[in-house]
């Protein structure tokens, strides 16, 4: 098929400059090739866009399609978006940090604009008209003066051609968008998701596949003392017992046989004594804090505290929480000769490919990693070690192997949002004004990076120091929607509420008095207006709370109304305002904001991962409560960004202020300030 290919640089999929997290955490190598095809317009006029991102619920397929469609003046439905397949798409570091629209979307817009300009130039030749007299419309180039003179894109592509993405290509101005920014853009993949046609990693079942059950240790850090697999091996349907990379697994012809064989395997483990429990966390966080890193310094802290009439100091504690995506991890590996194909619901298909290349000593070109649809991840599905296991087992068995985690395995053998303890000391002058702000945040994890996000205060206190430390982590700590930002925001915003209350000021008015950035002021005023803010105390014993924040470049403020009944907090309604610049797909962005708010309510009210002696005590839904439909409040949203400002992330910011808003609202209802999460554990 004849095609016009638009090629360009792949390093846009390299978000280290924004979050610094991906590279520091995963040590991703740079791409091996710098150039790749981003867009193809073929001889039938069909448009295909390629991106290294994965779809794990953020609806990026639709978001990217609408950007390409608008630039190329075709309908969204005629654009196919290919994602997450290392054999087909441009290299990408991974889908995290809300970078898909901000960076890859922008690259695709430039690529599509390049394609449009190339098609216009071809048409000018063919029609013998000056290019200025032509415009692209509905998949064709048309004369502005004589509509009958037009050529469909399909007819313009007479031979294979390749163009480099042109930096000077004119991306479409806001006023000329016909699809971007429209409400109710229908999901491209919506029908597949309601018919069962969408294939997730759990659903990949090649012919001849073997089902694996891994013999995981009962605790973290346990070492195998004895193993007796005779009974397991004797079970009909068990094909093989493998030990690869220090991991034992049963391979069987069906899932239940594998699980049963694993259950009757006799293993004895040495379990290390003296592992910390959840009760040890607050002390452990502070005592093991190291690699202190200053994220913000201003003025002279000592001088600030000298001016202070009152010093308000408090400690905030946030336990580990579990991501609990609906789809537990699964991976399928199939070898064909010395080539390997792996299907894995990972956020980092290219990173996984590099890991596999290193494990097997292979060229990356002989490995194909395909990320199919992913049933949620929220940042946690960047590490995907079970794909390594699947590839090793498949090699040993000479057949495709499927490794799929149970719910409890998914919880225990993935990673948790880090526990954190934050201490803030603030100095307040006699007129109530903030004059000093000293914050020390201890986040559990191997790298100090994990706690940096959101540690800077936007409030003008004159004299500021914000320190972040990394602390020992008894549980595997990893990424999670907005990561440390949600935790840092909780502490700072509750502290602001506390100060406002002590100096007798309204939480909104007090914040505004210390905010100069107009984008912060705008989201706060919008959320307060939409909510009908009148202060923390509401009639009928209800309470209201409000908080603001910034994450991945987007500004957000959220207000919540609650009632407290015994040990249950009911969140009745939430009003939120987001400024993420240009909103490409308003329905998609709204869905993400709503989801982030609901997810944040879980961590605010009842989620905590409990552990003792190396064991997670609540790894399943029976013991770990997540928000359900009865917990979901009415959510009103407003996007207050400026259409001329480039898009920033919308998937994560919604979670950042919600816990503090709820804490403030519970204070309004009960008069008790909650500085520890989850709040319901502290209600009696």
């Amino acid at each position: 098929m004849r095609r016009l290919s638009i090629v360009g640089d792949v390093t846009v999929g390299f978000p280290a400059s924004r979050t610094g997290y991906g590279q520091a955490t995963y040590g991703n190598t740079a791409p091996q090739t710098q150039r790749a095809t981003w867009i193809i317009v073929d001889g039938t006029g069909r448009v295909t866009a390629f991106a290294g991102k994965v779809e794990y619920g953020q609806n990026i397929r639709t978001g990217l399609a609408v950007e390409v469609a608008d630039e190329l003046r075709v309908s969204m439905a005629s654009v196919e978006v290919v994602l997450g397949d290392t054999a087909r798409v441009p290299w990408d570091m991974g889908t995290f940090g809300s970078q898909s629209t901000a960076r890859v979307g922008w690259q695709l817009r430039k690529a599509a604009a390049t394609a449009r300009e190339a098609l216009l130039a071809m048409a000018a030749d063919r029609l013998d008209l000056p290019v200025e007299d032509l415009e692209a419309r509905d998949g064709a180039v048309v004369s502005r003066h004589d509509r009958s003179r037009s050529i469909p894109y399909a007819d313009l592509i007479e031979a294979d051609q390749e163009r480099e993405i042109a930096d000077h290509a004119q991306v479409t101005r806001r006023a000329d968008f016909t699809q971007m920014g429209q409400s109710h853009l229908r999901r491209l993949d919506g029908i597949d998701r309601v018919t069962g046609a969408a294939r997730y990693s759990q659903d990949i079942l090649p012919e001849d596949v073997l089902y694996a059950a891994i013999l995981h240790p009962p605790t973290y850090g346990a070492t195998l003392r004895t193993i007796d697999l005779a009974a397991s091996e004797a079970l009909p349907g068990v094909v093989q017992v493998v030990e690869e990379g220090g991991i034992f697994a049963i391979l069987a012809e069906d899932d239940e046989t594998a699980a049963l064989a694993a259950r009757i395997a006799r293993l004895e483990w040495d379990i290390p004594q003296g592992q910390p429990s959840r009760w040890d966390m607050p002390a452990l966080l502070v005592e093991s804090g190291q690699d202190g890193y200053s994220t913000q310094e201003a003025g002279d802290l000592d001088a600030g505290f000298k001016q202070a009439d009152e010093v308000i100091e408090a400690t905030y504690y946030i336990p580990y929480i579990a991501p609990m995506p609906m789809e537990p991890r699964a991976a399928v590996a199939a070898w064909e000769g010395d080539s390997l194909t792996v299907w894995a619901g990972t956020q980092r298909p290219f990173g996984l490919r590099a890991e596999l290349a290193s494990i097997f000593g292979m060229e990356e070109s002989r490995i194909r990693v395909i990320a199919p649809e992913i049933g949620g991840g929220f940042g946690a599905k960047s590490p995907y070690g079970l794909a390594h296991d699947a590839a090793r087992f498949a090699k040993a068995a000479g057949r495709p192997v499927r490794v799929a985690y149970t719910r409890a395995e998914e919880t225990m053998w993935s990673n948790f949002r880090p526990a954190a303890l934050i201490r803030i000391r603030a100095g307040v002058a006699s007129d109530g004004r903030l004059v000093a702000w000293d914050s020390h945040a201890y986040h559990a994890g191997e790298r100090v990076m994990i706690g940096r996000r959101g540690s800077e205060t936007p409030y003008d206190a004159g004299n500021i120091r914000s320190m972040v430390y990394r602390s020992d982590s008894p549980l595997p700590s990893g990424s999670y929607r907005s990561l440390g930002a949600a935790v840092n925001h909780f502490a700072r915003e509750v502290h602001m509420d506390d100060i406002a209350a002590r100096v007798g000021r309204d939480p909104v008015e007090y914040r505004l008095a210390h905010l100069t950035e107009p984008r912060f002021r705008r989201v706060l005023e919008a959320a307060a207006d939409d909510f009908g803010w009148s202060g923390p105390r509401l009639p009928d014993g209800r309470g209201a709370g409000i908080a603001l924040g910034i994450d991945v470049g987007s500004y957000v403020a959220t207000a919540a109304e609650v009632s407290v009944n015994g040990r249950e907090v009911r969140v009745h309604r939430v009003s939120a305002a987001l400024d993420c610049g240009l909103v490409v797909n308003p329905e998609g962005a709204a869905n993400q904001m709503e989801g982030a708010i609901v997810m944040g309510l879980g961590g605010a009210l009842f989620e905590a991962s409990d552990f003792e002696a190396g064991r997670v005590l609540n790894p399943t839904f029976a013991r770990y409560r997540v928000p359900r439909i009865v917990d979901a409040p009415r959510i009103d949203l407003r996007f207050v960004g400026d259409d001329e400002t480039p898009s920033t992330g919308a998937g994560e910011p919604g979670i950042v202020p919600i816990a503090a808003a709820v804490s403030g609202a519970v204070f309004g209802a009960t008069g008790v300030r909650h500085r520890e999460l989850p709040i319901q554990r502290y209600l009696d």
Partner: protein, 249 residues
Amino acid sequence: MSLSKPFGGVYADHGMRGNGRQDIPPAEMMAPVRRAIADGGRASPDLVVSRGVAQCTCSRAIGEVPVPTSPVLVVNGVERQASRGDRNLLSYLRFDLRLTGTKYGCGEGLCGACTVLVDGQPLRSCMTTVGAVAGGEVTTIEGIATHDALAAAAAGEGVATLDDLHPVQRAFVEEQAMQCGYCIPGFIMSTVGLLKREPEPSPAQVREALVEHVCRCGAYQRIERAVLRAAEEMSVRSERNTGSEGDAS
């Protein structure tokens, strides 16, 4: 300790330990799960769960009533003979029949991703066996819209459109009641069951019927809207059909 405390205060006895309570889902929240299982009439809530593979210990599956060795059941209108009666129903559907639209989420009947209809009633397929539903009619997400166009699209021929869908499926698309979508087949199956029992549910009834499901992406507000929208569309359609002697479906 590698670091001096930046300022005083005693973090350890500052109430930070909470009351030690695990916040498990409240009993009333889980009651519908038990009820749904009981309503199916095919499984008891007395369940053994281990490693995510649930086994039904109810009398009909294992006990005085013998487990059929090769039970016959109808799945999406097709008669099937399973090789083992004690095969987990979810595994049977997903791995033996390759009907992967029904999802595994927890293996203990608490997330709803595995919901199918058995003789029109929503049932947690992860909590029961093929033998326990022998003789019954099982409908999965792949089987609720019967249009040929959808089957053709599933086979890779042609593209399914909204018109090919069941009204509940259509309403979920229209309201964009999904994010990752992994939980959605389960929500849809329970909704189909709900609307059969209660064609005009109140928002409270919708919430009660769906409390047994988890959408970790948090699309609940949209899911509620989608269910109410489907109810409205179906009641309009059924009125129209009744008026014109058509089949009320």
